[in-house]
Amino acid sequence: MTSRDRCDDEPEKGKGKKNVTDDASVSWRKRKKHFFVLSHSGKPIYSRYGAEHKLAGFTATLQAIISYVENGGDNIRFVRAGKHQVVFLVKGPIYLVCISCTEEPDDALRGQLELLHGQMLVILTKSIDRCFEKNKKFDMTPLLGGTEAVFSSLIHSFSWNPATFLHAYTCLPLAFSTRQAAGAILQDVVDSGVLFAMLMCKHKVVSLVGAQKASLHPDDMLLLSNFILSTKSFRTSESFSPICLPRYNPMAFLHAYVHYLEVDSYLVLLSINSDDFYHLKDCRIQIESVLVNSNVLGEVQKSVQDGGLHVEDVPVDSSLRSDSPSPHPGQGRAALASRIGGPAGLWHFIYRSINLDQYVSSELSSPLNSSRLQKELYRAYQKLYVSMHDRQIGPHKTQFRRDESYVLLCWITPDFELYAAFDPLADKALAIKICNRVCQWVRDLENEIFLFGGSPFSW
């Protein structure tokens, strides 16, 4: 069993370095994106870089700024200082601050701070607020012992995982019957009193079932999978850990049984009972045997190897290109190997189904094959997302934007949102046509790339 104190976990990479830097060091100041969590008395709780206790003077300054504005009956939201942006989020007695020169919109950074706070609740629940009510001096850091890697992994995901701004989850592509087989056995254990049963492959959902009326928010799924994937002790043995799903119930712990079935595939069973370990273990044994017998795990491995949707496979008719259309993924790709990207200069897309709370994203490939370019693309999407959902002047329906890096196209309807990136020289009319094709293609493949019946809000 995994205890709350995760001190036995291996420290994250660079932890040694973390202990020597403080706010006076040049390397610390050069960091592009800092995250800080502090208490309302200014005590440090978490810092992405540098040792928390060495930054006590810095967090004191942050608290003084926040509290000073608060005293005037106001709230500080952000400060711009040259190319740096300081974004504040006050969550009761917990203050979160991001200092960044990445040019991300402040709403996007605030969303990231919300997730950081959510991650803290996953580990401790919102009951932590009561500790501060009882004792303003309360020092939260000991309760977060050993969870360093969880936060650094979440912060890293802000630059590669679109779920962090789309508020949707993604599925591993699988044949409809395979996913159905997995769903059926998960449904059986849920019927035996389990609250949620999830079969995951890294951060992608294989199948997911919840008890009646129990809904799982995509943000909770993101935070839960991040917690599991970044906590190494889950990989070594079956674990039973208290866990909070902030969107489900921020005040209370659920109890999570976690077991890795394969290298990257793991099962999560959530119960409200703290003494359910043996029942959940039995459920896992039952699930595992069904998954092995029906070769679901084999199909999962195969899907991981094959990858997801490739822009090269977007079917187009002869009016758009000379090649013959390829209605199925994988076919006809070899013939196009010489071309970079998909038809009409399509480089990448994300399709988010609004009703399903799910998204599907094409595989990143040439010319977006460095992690720096991928990060830039996700930041561009994030910016696009924020501008499309602007509360004051939005929401908008379409946007076409061309700069030196890409053509970005966004299209929002009541059913879906499409974000697409094209070659910066792409033709506008053609790009719009291709976006229509992408949407049609995704709908044609929906049984394989989305989970049906598992939509959190349709139970």
Partner: protein, 207 residues
Amino acid sequence: MASRRRMLLKVIILGDSGVGKTSLMNQYVNKKFSNQYKATIGADFLTKEIQFEDRLFTLQIWDTAGQERFQSLGVAFYRGADCCVLVYDVNVMKSFENLNNWREEFLIQASPSDPENFPFVVLGNKIDIDNGNSRVVSEKKARAWCASKGNIPYFETSAKEGFNVEAAFQCIAKIALKNEPEDEIYLPDTIDVAGNRQHRSSSGCGC
């Protein structure tokens, strides 16, 4: 069940302007002293790591401005303080008489849970001036006042010569260690799905 973990202590320094709060901090944290007076604007924040009885402490020191125009910052600054250091100048009677105001103001603004027993430390600074010939507050008088306020520890210091500064701050760690709450088990709510109610765990959280 006292753990060996590092303790972070928020320490507020209060006192009239010019009594040497910033100089004391500079002597303590940076081992430096300057005769030039530079008024603190709002507050300065310093950290100092110390060891006391095998425990590591990080002192988060809030060096506040003594001028009255900054007093409105009080609530924001004092929240969650672990200790308050009151400083006066042994050569200036008014700065000693004001200790009472500083103490009361702090207790009102910080509203600690147990004001009677909130840890204060009093420092009588600038004992080096004129070899003590210009001092107007006697040690006896100062100690009597400290005794009347629940036996506040008292130190006579010289920021200029670095006299007694270390000892005064060691004392803060000592008090904090004495007052360290027992670690209790952190127990949030559990869910009762059937009744849709939440149980509050009996022991609550330990702090």
